[in-house]
Amino acid sequence: MAAAAATAASKGNGGGGGRAGAGEASSSRKKKGPGPLATAYLVIYNVVMTAGWLVIAVGLVRAYLAKGSYHSLYYSIEKPLKFFQTGALLEILHCAIGIVPSSVVLTSFQVMSRVFLIWAVTHSVKEVQSEDSVLLFVIAWTITEIIRYSFYTFSLLNHLPYLIKWARYTLFIVLYPMGVSGELLTIYAALPFVRQAGLYSISLPNKYNFSFDYYAFLILIMISYIPIFPQLYFHMIHQRRKILSHTEEHKKFE
């Protein structure tokens, strides 16, 4: 879900740093973008994020070559992964102050689901850090984000190579299910440890008359993928048809 949401399409070219997906107004191709200062800031932001995820990509490759296996690569990129994924919280701010035309609610949902996976699952439950499922979603996210942030960078500079646009609207077909699988398997792997340690859970009696079962909560999260994943996925497919065929038509008339 976090993977899918991130690969979701941006309508229009002033995407900036915001996540688009289903929330963006389909009718308005906003001609007025952010002002020059905001544009400069957003270009810097997107370049930095592209670089950050490239660092993670390179880190993964180097660790793989050094270790000779693809197991437990999480530890080699743990810090930049946490830093750059958490940094994406800024994108909520971008939407809130209006320099990016996406919906605050949708962007929040998308970023928070990523941050949740990084901190509340992978970081919090140390035993899952060596799982292969973590590598699955990290790779999916890394490729997606490198493309997405370079897409925004080029869009802001009004010079978007078709390859990037194509990649953004095509690779999700594989990356999205890959990411979702990695996420679900990781949450599933965390369950027994959460249950055992009573992680983030509070039971009765207590003076605030409240209880929370993190184990049950995680199961609910997993279930929520069932309605959400297909919606986002098919929205992306629909977007792909619209945007890539639109470009093809333009090319025909040149």
Binding site: L204, P205, K207, Y208, N209, F210
Partner: protein
């Protein structure tokens, strides 16, 4: 589809209704009285398209413009000899009264299920047992009173400016009210419930807050009702009356919301239950949004609106 008719050009205006999205001609009415209201035109339109009852019709002069009001008169609209109106389907509608009654009956009933510890909620050994804490019984009385009051107000006090709302709202609203009621009731009536830290003192204070705010809320509802004659949709600036509870109008536009938040804060203190506090917070957020909207429309509509007033919290918000 042109609906044929004798084109009688001596009396009556002509009205054509087009679909706002497809521009398809849906209906042609001739011999419409110039003094006819939009409401009457909607009724005429329903005759040819019975699936679109008046409540779900939005008629406008411009496909992307604002909806015309039911009271608007044909003659006074900026149209030529043939008025072109654009139609948008608002979707299935449900009356506000129906929504309110359903929203409020749910929590009333659901809370009692937990209070009486109906089977399958708590362990079997607790079925139909009663809490030993006085505050739990008091909380049930307060919660039930609150929703009974709301039901009675819906039936006898409120005067609604809109008759209907979209059907999907009832699912959204009921999920919210019923869900939170169940969540709160579960903890308050739980066998392992912990009474308030400061005991009877805390409960008495909280009860006082709750009762005062409930009286306040009711006073405001009555004052608002008296502002508007039965069957009308007029809007006037509300002012304080002889009832001291209404003096809050001096400081806020929507004291009914202020009192409502106060009631729930009282209930939260009384039960010392975190879910109640969270419900109060969510309710406060929503009511603040509504209060700000109401405040803004008061300011727009009335030049002489009292400047001291804030939307919901005196001096602050």
């Amino acid at each position: 589809r042109l609906r044929g008719g004798v084109w009688n050009q001596e009396k009556g205006d002509k009205v054509e209704i087009l679909d706002a999205k497809t521009r398809e001609k849906l209906c042609f009415l001739d011999k419409v009285e110039p003094q006819a209201t939009i409401a009457e035109i909607k009724n005429l339109f329903t005759k040819t398209h019975p699936q679109w009852y008046p409540a779900r019709q939005s008629l406008r002069l411009d496909p992307k413009g604002k909806s015309l009001k039911d009271e608007d008169v044909l003659q006074k609209l900026p149209v030529g000899t043939t008025a072109t109106l654009y139609f948008r389907d608002l979707g299935a509608q449900i009356s506000w009264v129906t929504v309110f009654l359903t929203e409020y009956a749910g929590p009333l009933f659901i809370y009692l299920l937990f209070y009486f510890r109906v089977p399958f909620i708590y362990g079997h050994k607790y079925d139909f047992t009663s809490s030993r804490h006085t505050v739990v019984h008091l909380a049930c009385i307060c919660h039930s009173f609150h929703y009974i009051k709301r039901l009675l107000e819906t039936l006898f006090v409120h005067r609604f400016s809109h008759g209907t709302m979209p059907l999907r709202n009832i699912f959204k609203n009921c999920t919210y009210y019923w869900g939170f009621a169940a969540w709160m009731a579960y903890y308050i009536n739980h066998p392992l419930y912990t009474p308030p830290t400061y005991g009877a003192q805390q409960v008495k204070l909280a009860l006082a807050i709750f009762v005062i705010c409930q009286l306040g809320n009711f006073s405001i509802h009555m004052a608002l009702r008296d502002l508007r004659p039965a069957g009308s949709k007029t809007r006037k600036i509300p002012y304080p009356t002889k009832n001291p509870f209404t003096w809050l109008f001096l400081l806020v536009s929507c004291p009914n919301y202020t009192y409502e938040v106060g009631s729930w804060i009282g209930f939260a203190i009384m039960t010392q239950c975190l879910p109640v506090a969270l419900f109060s917070l969510v309710g406060f957020t929503q009511m603040t949004i509504w209060a700000k909207g109401k405040h803004r429309s008061y300011l727009k509509e009335f030049r002489d609106y009292p400047p001291l007033r804030m939307p919901i919290i005196p001096f602050l918000l």
